[in-house]
């Protein structure tokens, strides 16, 4: 596994080769004609090498779409995404990109160990049992190597998913609301653990989140997006020192930055009617049942 730690043993920044990601003048439309939705319009974003950028914005503003395009999972309608000048596909195949999904995306029939090893398998790398064991230790899952996802709590599943992300030694880490599905207590715990893991591993990073404290604690810069079609409306640097720690959550700097982000998002105001998200469609009388199971699964 290549060593691109951001800090040396004394906590000094190390010079390492990490990718720069450019999203240039990207437009993304979904659907056809009448039902067309413009998710992004002329969107620009640059991820500086070795930094963590947080992308925050109201629901449906296209922030996950940006992440998916960088991951090579979606294609832009126009404009382009490059990783060190190359299109995403080629970079992905070398295991240099890792994505953390909101639902952990662990395969239920594989053990924790085997789920983490899957990433190396998919990236065409050797098994590296020792590395997998180390990662399990690092994320605090020692003793659960043989457990299946169903036996783990939500937080433990996310830890396993993060270990899987790191297993291929990625230089680009894409986190799509990684803690969106875990409870608040676990989330706070993981928010403190993740920066440490990321700093030790070293990678260019993008974090998509709804949580302002999460964005501020993890990122070097918070990018605030407008409602659909998503545009960048503010870029707020986070002047907190690294490595990050729990004490910083109570620092004056943290609170000020969090306030600026909230300000840019337009939340925390007393007057009603701030349109954070499009009006929800009326709930159907009966929730949708997945037809995939033939209606009887």
């Amino acid at each position: 596994m290549p060593d691109h730690r951001l800090f040396d043993a004394e906590g000094r920044p190390r010079p390492v080769s990490l990718p720069e990601v450019r999203v240039a003048d990207v437009t993304k439309r979904f659907g056809r004609r009448k039902s067309e939705v413009v998710a992004l319009d002329g969107f620009d974003l640059t991820l500086a090498p070795g930094t963590m950028t947080a992308l925050v914005g109201p629901s449906g503003c296209g922030k996950s779409t940006v992440l998916r395009m960088i991951a090579g999972l979606d294609r832009a309608t126009s404009g382009g995404v490059t990783i060190d000048g190359q299109p995403p596909g080629a970079v992905n195949r070398r295991g240099e990109v890792a994505v953390a999904f909101q639902d952990a995306a662990l395969l239920p029939w594989r053990t924790v160990e085997a789920n983490i090893a899957l990433a190396r398998q998919l990236a065409g790398q050797d098994r590296a049992d020792e590395l997998v064991a180390n990662l399990i230790m690092m994320v605090g899952l020692a003793g659960f190597e043989r457990a299946r996802p169903a036996e783990l709590s939500g937080g433990m599943r996310q830890r396993a998913a993060i270990a899987r992300c790191l297993a291929t030694g990625p230089r680009l880490l894409l986190l799509d609301e990684p803690f969106g599905a875990v409870d608040e207590l676990t989330r706070r715990r993981l928010n403190i653990e993740l920066p440490r893991l990321w700093e030790e591993h070293g990678a260019t990073g993008l974090l998509v989140t709804h949580s302002i404290p999460e964005a501020v604690l993890l990122a070097d810069e918070v990018v605030v997006m407008s409602p659909r079609p998503g545009r960048v409306i503010a870029r707020i640097p986070v002047p907190l020192s690294r490595p990050r720690n729990a004490a910083q959550l109570k620092s004056q700097t943290f609170l000020e930055v969090a306030d600026r982000v909230a300000e840019a998002l337009g939340v925390d105001r007393d007057e009603p009617g701030v349109p954070l998200q499009p009006a929800a469609a009326p709930m159907p009388a009966i929730p949708r049942i997945k037809l995939a199971a033939g209606g009887a699964g």
Partner: protein, 537 residues
């Protein structure tokens, strides 16, 4: 009615001492007793029903004969089961790798599924000669669709993040199939294989009806010809028990491999199409044209490939000429269509009656859960009977007229509908049922307003799948017993070597089945759109 206890778990509290298996056993014992009594009193000497004790005695008496026949049929069924399911798995894999091919694979699979098996029998007999070739082929044809469709659904029944994970490492459909879809679809595969077990047995027996030398199907024909009531029943019981054993065994093996019960599946949901209506019609027409062209091409190519003699292996052009291009075409058409009309005049009412009664029975079981718990396992077991094997019995029981046919088609439609709707009714989200409980809505109210809309997709899935089955049941009954309709016409042509007529009947019946399937799918779209739009994605 006190709504809350009634709606949710009332009966469970009323019979705390009786476990589910006890109720089921009591139900089966009561059923057998009633059967015995009716056979020995009401219907004694009427050449209709044999009492359970008589059937057991007959099986005991003919154990050696039945044992040999069973081995023959079982072997053919097993071979067909393996070949048919292997083909299904292969086709599903192809469809999963090439997204564009999926609709074509599904459509062609449906066309082949709609082939009238009975009529295919004699043609296969000529091709294969004596031996088990036709039985194996028919068994394979009978199983592959019910495996293919659940597999296609199972391949897609994964959270979108799983394929995304594979794609995020730059890997494509093949790796996704290997690492994600194949393993995730195992419960669906098991569900398909379970239905396939009785279907394979049925296919093998139908193959034996049309001129085999050995096997249970041959014994069945002999028993009917000699009005051997106990013998006919004995064979039906053997077929049923074997089929249920296969069904249960596969379910048991499946449970070892996939945690939790396999889902009950009947058909793929119609693929949602969000494009504009005009465009949808154009693509729909194109799809039909493409399917037709490919189907005709395959038909022609297969015959040429195996170099089959044109005397019995008719090409598409032969059928076209026979029906449209010859001086006698008018009379030919008239002959086929009038026989078809005769068949449909009993098939359609029987099919609809089966649907309606199955639906109502499932609703009743939902309102009276104790009755449901006693009857549902029996219904599931009966669903796995090769009902065609019992067709002769029903003809014995209800005569060779339209009523007997009505009962056969109705029964065949009834059981899958009952099971599917019962499962569908139970699919209603718990929170919705709780909500109705909070407002003290009665059982009927909850059923009509909440549960039935949830069960509609399951109902229609069963209804679609029952179309070819109903046509098959009707034609088999006509072929074997009643001497009416297009089934009988095909039986005549098979014995008089009028192969042009036989192939034309096959084509017409296939088209009717496909059209019926499509019609039900259209009604489904309309009804769901109107009454349960949330069920359409």
């Amino acid at each position: 009615m006190t709504a809350i206890t009634e709606g949710a778990s009332g009966s469970r509290q009323r019979f705390p001492a009786l476990p589910g298996w006890a109720i089921t056993t009591a139900g089966i014992v009561a059923f057998l007793l009633l059967w015995e009594v009716v056979a020995r009193t009401l219907l004694a000497g009427s050449y209709i029903i044999a009492a359970p004790s008589e059937i057991v005695a007959r099986i005991d008496e003919g154990a050696a004969l039945y044992g040999r026949a069973l081995r023959t049929t079982l072997w053919a069924a097993l071979l067909g089961f393996l070949i048919g399911n292997a083909t299904a798995i292969l086709l599903a894999g192809v469809a999963s790798l090439a997204a564009r091919a999926e609709r074509l694979v599904q459509a062609l699979a449906l066309v082949v599924f709609c082939l009238p098996l009975v009529a295919t029998g004699p043609i296969l007999r000529v091709i294969f000669g004596p031996g088990i070739g036709p039985q194996v082929t028919l068994a394979a044809l009978a199983v592959y669709y019910t495996t293919l469709i659940p597999l296609l659904v199972g391949f897609k029944a994964v959270p979108s993040s799983w394929p995304d994970l594979v794609a995020s490492y730059g890997r494509g459909r093949f790796q996704t199939l290997i690492h994600v879809r194949a393993r995730a679809s195992i419960p669906y595969l098991v569900a398909g294989l379970q239905i396939a077990a009785p279907a394979a047995f049925l296919g093998a027996m139908v193959g034996e009806f049309t001129g085999a030398e050995r096997g249970l199907g041959v014994l069945t024909i002999q028993a009917i010809r000699t009005l051997d009531v106990a013998g006919t029943w004995a064979i039906a019981v053997i077929a049923t028990v074997t089929s249920i054993a296969g069904y249960v065994a596969i379910g048991w093996v499946g449970k070892r491999f996939s945690h939790g019960a396999p889902p009950v599946l009947l058909a793929a949901p119609p693929t949602p199409d969000r494009s504009a209506p005009g465009r949808r019609i154009v693509t729909g027409v194109l799809a039909v044209v493409l399917t037709t062209v490919v189907a005709i091409g395959l038909w022609w190519a297969l015959l040429e490939l195996f170099d089959l003699h044109p005397f019995f292996a008719k090409r598409p052009s032969d059928v076209w000429n026979y029906l449209f291009n010859l001086p006698a075409s008018g009379a030919n058409r008239e002959r086929v269509l009038s026989a078809l009309a005769e068949t449909l005049s009993v098939t359609v009412p029987g099919y609809i009656a089966g649907l309606v009664i199955g639906f109502l029975a499932a609703c009743l079981f939902e309102l009276y859960p104790a009755a449901g718990r006693a009857a549902t396992p029996i219904a599931i077991a009966l669903r796995s009977i090769p009902i065609i094997a019992t067709a002769p019995l029903i003809v014995l029981a209800f005569g060779r007229g339209a009523f007997g046919m009505l009962i056969i088609v109705g029964t065949l439609t009834f059981f899958p509908t009952l099971v599917a709707v019962a499962q569908g009714l139970r699919q209603t989200p718990g929170q919705v049922v709780d909500l109705f409980g909070v407002y003290r809505a009665g059982g009927v109210r909850t059923l009509v307003t909440a549960r039935i809309p949830s069960a509609l997709p399951a109902f229609f899935a069963a209804a679609r799948m029952a179309v070819p089955a109903a046509v098959l049941a009707a034609t088999v009954a006509e072929w074997l017993a009643t001497g009416t309709g297009i089934g009988n016409l095909m039986a005549l042509t098979a014995s008089t070597s009028a192969y042009n007529l036989l192939w034309s009947c096959v084509v017409v019946l296939t088209l009717v089945s496909v059209a019926g399937y499509g019609l039900v799918a259209l009604v489904e779209r309309y009804v769901l759109h109107r009454f349960a739009p949330e069920q359409l994605r």
